[in-house]
Symmetry: C2
């Protein structure tokens, strides 16, 4: 057996334990009774330690050196490249740092759940200082190994190949037109008369409607399920994808579009190349590309007039009321409003929330600012981008997100990268696919075939740049995103 | 750290992986979509290999030798004894035999699923020959190590400390009175007019009723759940016990009493000593004691007049119809009928099915008979014990059970041992607890306190014999079981 084949076998072994971690993780989030938490945490921690020990076995170093000398096909070279990236990342940090981060992150996140409600920045700041310091240490180690800036080294964990230099250009572009576009859209929507949900919408009926929408989106129920959890997510494994949603019986807006969003993530997972299952190259390309699929489903398809017509039609099987007309649903799902909270933000204001976070975490990781500078910077940027002040308002300001509490610096850009990729994919798709007709017909297969051919079936065989260029004949830019937003919100 | 403490730490580590195996096993049986099967099998097999490698680590041998020399409390000695038993059993068989058994068992079981329906003994016999031969090999290795007969060595896997010498005595006793008692009970019930389920009983309502019954039985929902699966079982871990049932909408009898049965298993698990969690001594004592708890709930409590009154009362919250009166439910749940199929058998005929299987598997493992002798022996014994011929009727004869298809020889006695233990526990309990009054009152706490004090909280700290003697002041015998059956079925 060649060194390369041995590495593939090893990768499949690790992947089997990752499978277990995914399933028990889903279980913990969606069905586990509260009393099971302690034993489960112990079991999951034991599994993490085991996976880490597999990833850091000393003999892998020799195998990678040998495999580099072997004559491999182009595809096998890509498989090797991705396995190596994974291995290098797992071996970079000293065990003591990983443990310290895990402890500090758990402590900070746990306390944050109470501190946020109490607007207790002083209390949070104490725990967070340690989290930030450890992340700075991590970023430094990663930067030295990769020869990049500390922030770029963190970004690499979520968006391989993406740099802050490229993000700076993309986001600078967005910042030139987004604030005025938001104002214009709000002005334009002033006369809109929206009927907001105002009744009792039983969870059971919301679920039945959600399942119909998933069917329309060709979710493969032989290889996945819909369940419930407090924080909706897409988990499981490609052969068994678990998406979740949360039903609030006083409204239906969130769960319905949430299901469309998670179905996008799920179909990407379900569509990954089976021949590469168990290898890193068989996995999703990046967080941004993953988000591009959920946002393609949610924003490009889900909020289109043609799709909202389906939503209205299917909703009528379960609910009645004037709030369920196509016109009203469409207004609900394209309503623009400046707000403090990212997770409640609409499509148009969302990038402002992300760019603000990106600029702060970039400067924080690069040592340009200190963690104590964050509240003031947050306030300044919120005023500049959305005209809202967060002075002294921590819970609706810099303490609102969970991401930074455990040191996940470098993740936020993925959201807006996803939105941009999605718009660019749609523009390219429209060159060869009559998208509106496909949606109207109720058979969306041509759309999914394009996505499968260009994105899903590629796994991580290509760099993000190559993937996007092959699919759209250009590198990522903000042009299509802008055009999409202008068309939807300004009727341009 | 002492060698003993190191062994306890190792045991907890293994237990963490067992936890993962239990949860993904539950997932596979109750919620996994069919398309997830292949990847799941691979992941579970990988986990099995890992657990086995942990159990056979070479340094354990030294640790056990050292621990034997350490000065330990009585309880720690019991903990050590149980860890050692587990370790010895895991290390006894050569890897090649375990693998051959796994392959032959899977092949035989898989083919059996079709062959049974086709009454294809000839086809089944070919695969089964290999399974039996490998089990004979296993039994021989185990017998040599323990100095017992081959069958007793297999029995030890399910019922530590129980021998066929003792089973022969117990079952010989039962055989003297059971056949005539069955005839007498059937004669006595001839005039009974039973209203069988005859309508549509929606799964949702059956579930709601089941949950109410579980509440009455004080199932701890903070540490467990009720779900569905094709073959009902009790799984999960003590802090998170997962029971399942199957809803047939054309009747309610099976799911309702099935839930009572599984709740008995579950409360045993939930009641195991938390201070010993993660060690073998903190686990259930044996399959027979486990079954004694499910049968205590189902047979001793569940089919009592006082409990059936609760069932009728709770059923009225969800269903209506003359089939739900206390009198009719009681008749349904104590109806005696001679039949071919063990899993459909009533309380009174069930032991006949078990004794028949015990006698055959004992002689098969001890080399007294060959596997090709089984159909004829089955027919003879069915005629002798239940007056039914299975000549040429394999699917309702020796091909009906799954147990032997993968070589689980030694398991069957546990069912009737459980029934006997349950009757003996009830007789002892009644010395100090007013059981009928407790059931009637709807607060069954005194019953559960007795079970917790005498059985659940003991884990595997004592041998089965000691456990039973401490709880009932006598060793296991058939007297209480006989008295219970006479009282219920012959009004004696």
């Amino acid at each position: 057996m060649s060194a390369f084949q041995k590495l593939v076998e090893h990768s499949k072994k690790v992947s089997n334990f990752d499978h277990l971690a995914s399933i028990v993780g889903w279980d913990q989030a969606s069905v586990m009774p509260s009393g099971g938490a302690e034993a489960r945490s112990n079991a999951m921690a034991e599994l993490d330690v085991h996976i880490h020990s597999l990833m850091t076995q000393p003999h892998l170093s020799d195998l990678f050196a040998q495999a580099d000398e072997e004559s491999l096909s182009n595809q096998d070279q890509a498989v090797l490249r991705e396995m190596k990236r994974d291995w290098q990342q797992a071996n970079l940090l000293p065990e003591s740092l990983v443990q310290a981060q895990s402890l500090a992150g758990s402590k900070c996140e746990h306390a944050w759940r109470t501190q946020r409600g109490n607007d207790d920045w002083a209390g949070f700041e104490k725990n967070w200082a340690e989290v930030v310091n450890l992340s700075l240490e991590e970023a430094q180690i990663r930067a030295e190994a990769s020869g990049t800036t500390p922030y770029d080294a963190m970004l690499e964990l979520y968006e391989p190949g993406t740099t802050s230099a490229s993000l700076d250009v993309l986001f600078a572009d967005v910042k030139t037109w987004l604030p005025s576009m938001i104002d214009e859209a709000i002005e334009k929507q002033k006369a809109n008369n929206i009927l907001l949900p105002n009744g009792h919408y039983p969870a059971e009926k919301q679920k039945a409607l959600g399942l119909e929408v998933m069917k329309l989106l060709q979710f493969d129920f032989e290889h996945g399920r819909l369940d419930e959890s407090v924080h909706p997510f897409c988990g499981g494994v490609p052969s068994d994808v678990r998406i979740t949603t949360r039903y609030d019986e006083s409204e239906f807006v969130q769960s319905l579009m949430g299901i469309v969003h998670e179905t996008g993530h799920a179909r990407y997972e379900q569509g990954l190349p089976k021949s590469l299952a168990g290898t890193t190259a068989g996995q999703a390309r990046s967080m941004g590309i993953h988000e591009s699929q959920s946002l393609f489903f949610e924003m490009q398809v889900g909020r289109s007039q043609a799709f909202v017509e389906h939503l209205a039609r299917l909703a009528a099987n379960h609910f009645e009321g004037p709030e369920f007309t196509q016109d009203n649903l469409s207004k609900i799902y394209t309503h623009v409003e400046k707000g403090f909270i990212r997770v409640d933000a609409d499509e148009l204001t969302y990038p402002a929330h992300v760019i603000l976070r990106y600029e702060i975490e970039r400067d924080l990781m690069n040592g340009v600012i200190k963690h104590t500078d964050v509240p003031e910077l947050w306030n300044e940027k919120m005023k500049a981008y959305l005209g809202l002040s967060t002075e002294g308002n921590f819970k609706n300001g810099c303490m609102q997100d969970i991401h930074w509490t455990d040191g996940s610096f470098g993740y936020f850009p993925s959201y807006t990268l996803g939105a941009m990729y999605a718009a660019q994919f749609m523009a390219a798709m429209k060159q060869t696919v009559d998208v509106d007709t496909a949606i109207q017909s109720g058979d969306l297969s041509p759309i999914f075939t394009w996505l499968s051919d260009n994105i899903w079936s590629k796994g991580s065989l290509f760099s993000t740049d190559d993937l996007v260029t092959q699919a759209t004949s250009e590198t990522l830019n903000a042009k299509h995103f802008k055009a999409h937003l202008e068309s939807r919100y300004l009727d341009k």
